[in-house]
Amino acid sequence: MADKRNPFATGAESTVLGADEIVLNMGPQHPSTHGVLRVKLRLDGEKVIGSECVIGYLHRGVEKIAEHRTYQQFAPYVDRMDYVAAVSNGLGYCETVEKLLGVEAPLRARVIRVILTELQRIASHLFWLGTHALDIGALTPLFYCLREREEILKIFEKYCGARLTTHAFRIGGLQYEAYDEFEKEVERFCKSFDKRVDEYESLLTQNRIWMGRTKGIGVLTAKEAIDYGATGPVLRASGVPWDIRKAMPYAAYDLYKFEIPTGQNGDTYDRYLVRLEEMRQSRLICLQAIENIPAGRIMARVGKILRPPPGEVYHSIESPKGELGYYIVSDGTVQPYRVRIRPPSLINLGAFEKMIRGHLLADVVAIIGTLDIVLGEVDR
C-alpha cells in the first residue's frame, strides 16, 4: 500500500464504496478556514479518506526579522503572530528575554501580567467559541461572545491604548501602571462573566444539533495527542491534565488556585467543554489577582540597551492555544542570534490529518474550528 501520508495515494481504505475518489481543494479563501489555510481533501463520496494542509500563505519571516532587530524592537512583532491573543505572545517573548538576561520582573508587574493574560485567554476563547459555533451553524453565540470580548478589549485599550496588537509588556516588566479604575473594571467584568458563560452553555451544551455535530468528531486519544505534539486544550480534552501554568509556573501563577479542566473522549465536544471551563478558571484567577495587587516597582532594572550574555534559553507559556515556546540564542550582541517560535497552532494543526480521517466533509470545518488555529501564528 502506498504511503498513508500522501493524500493522493490510493490504498485499501479508499475502496469502501467503490466510487471514484475526488480531490477537493478547500481554501485558501474559505470563510471557515479562519484565515488562509488550504486543505487538500481526498474524498470518497462525502467521506474524507486523506488530507493535506497547505500553509504558508501568511508567512512573513518573523524569525528572520528577529535576527535583524534589537530585542526590544522585535517585541511588537510577536503580537502579530497570534493576533487574537497578542498579550500572551508578548508575555512569552518578554519572559524569555528576561530569562536570557537573568532578570525577573517585579511582583507587581507579574501580577498585572497575569490579570491581562488571563483576560486575553478569555477573549481568545470567546472569539474561538463564537466563530467555531458559527462554522457549525449556530449564529447566535457569536454576538454574545463578541459582546463580552469587547469589554475585555476596552480594558486593554484603557491600559495600553491598543485593542488587538497591544504590546502590553516590556522586557523587564511593564511600561504603564494600571489605570485608576483598573481593578474595578476587571472585577465588574469578572463578576458578571460567570452568568454569561452559563448563557453560552444554555445555547449549546445540551443543544441536540450541537451535540450531533461535535460528539465523536475528530477524536484524539491521549497517546495520539502527545505523539502529534498537541498541547493546550486539545491535549487536555484527551485527558492529559498538563498545563504549563501548573507544571512550570511562570509570571505569578504559583500564587493562585485554579483547576485544570480535562475531558475524557478527546472529541470536539470535550474540547468545547474544556475551553468553557478554562474561561471560568481564568475568571477565578483574575478575581484572586485583583484582590491583592502588590505595590512596588513595575519595571526591573534593565538597561536601555540589552545585551544578554551569550547562551540560549527555551521558555514556554500556556497560551490560549497551547504551548507557546520561544527558543532564543544570544551571541552577546544587541540582536538575537536566533529566535525560534514554537507556535501551538502549527503543531496542533499537524494533528488535523489524523483527526479528519474517516469523517465527513461537513466535519472539516468543525475540526479546523476545534483546533483553534490562527493562521498568523501557523505561518509566522
Binding site: 537573568g102 545585551r307 551569550p310 540560549e312 536566533r338 514554537r342 505561518d379
Partner: protein
Amino acid sequence: MGNDPEHKPPSAGSPYEPSADKPPGSVEKTAPKSDVTPIPSAVYPPEAAAASRLAAPVREGPVPLDNDTVKRYREKFGPAILQAWMDRKQAILVVAREQLAEICRHSRDEEKFDLLSNLTALDWPRREKRFDVVLELYSFEKNERLRLKASAAADERVPSVQGIWTAANWMEREVYDMFGIVFEGHPDLKRILLPEEWQGHPLRKDYGILAQDMAWVRENLGIESGQ
C-alpha cells in the same frame, strides 16, 4: 545595514575567553563594547564560558553538567554523547548526529521524554559543521525538559525522528524549508511555508534579510521587485 547578509562580523578568537588583565566580574561590562562583535565560534563553549562567565555571580551561564540523567545517557551511548552542559538551568546534551534517532528512541521509551516540544536548527556559518539541529524534549512523568543538539555539515543528512514523534513531521519540514537540512528517512520532505519551487533557504545566515527568489516572484506574482 539591514540588507548585508554578513551583518555580524567574525571575531578573531573565541569571544568567551576571559581577559587576563581584568577581574572576572568586569567581563560582563567590557566584553560587549569591544570593536569586534562576537559571533559564537566553533563549538558552543561550555568550558570557556564556565571559566569566564561563571565568575560573575549575577549571570547564569553555561556550566558543564553531569547529573544522573547524563550519566545514564553516557553509560548507554558512550562516545555518542559528545557534551553535556547546563545553560540558565536548562540541560543540554550534544549528541552524535549518526545516533540521533537511536538516542531519541531511547529518550522516549526509557527516559520517558514523551513530548517533542520543539525541533529547530541553528546556523553557524563559520563552523566546520555549520548546522545544529535542536530538539526540545519534555517528560510528563518527570516534569523535566531536555535539549538535544546534533551538528551537521551542509551536505550531511540528519536522521529523521518523525517515526518517533509524529510531531517532528512538520517541524522537520520547516527546518528543511528554512535551512535546507535534509532529514534521512522523512516520508514527505518538502517545503512547508515557502512555495515548492522557491530557491534558497531564508534562515541561513548568508541569506540576506531583503533577499528573495526574484525569478519566482516575477513569474508568479508578476511584480519586479517584490517589495
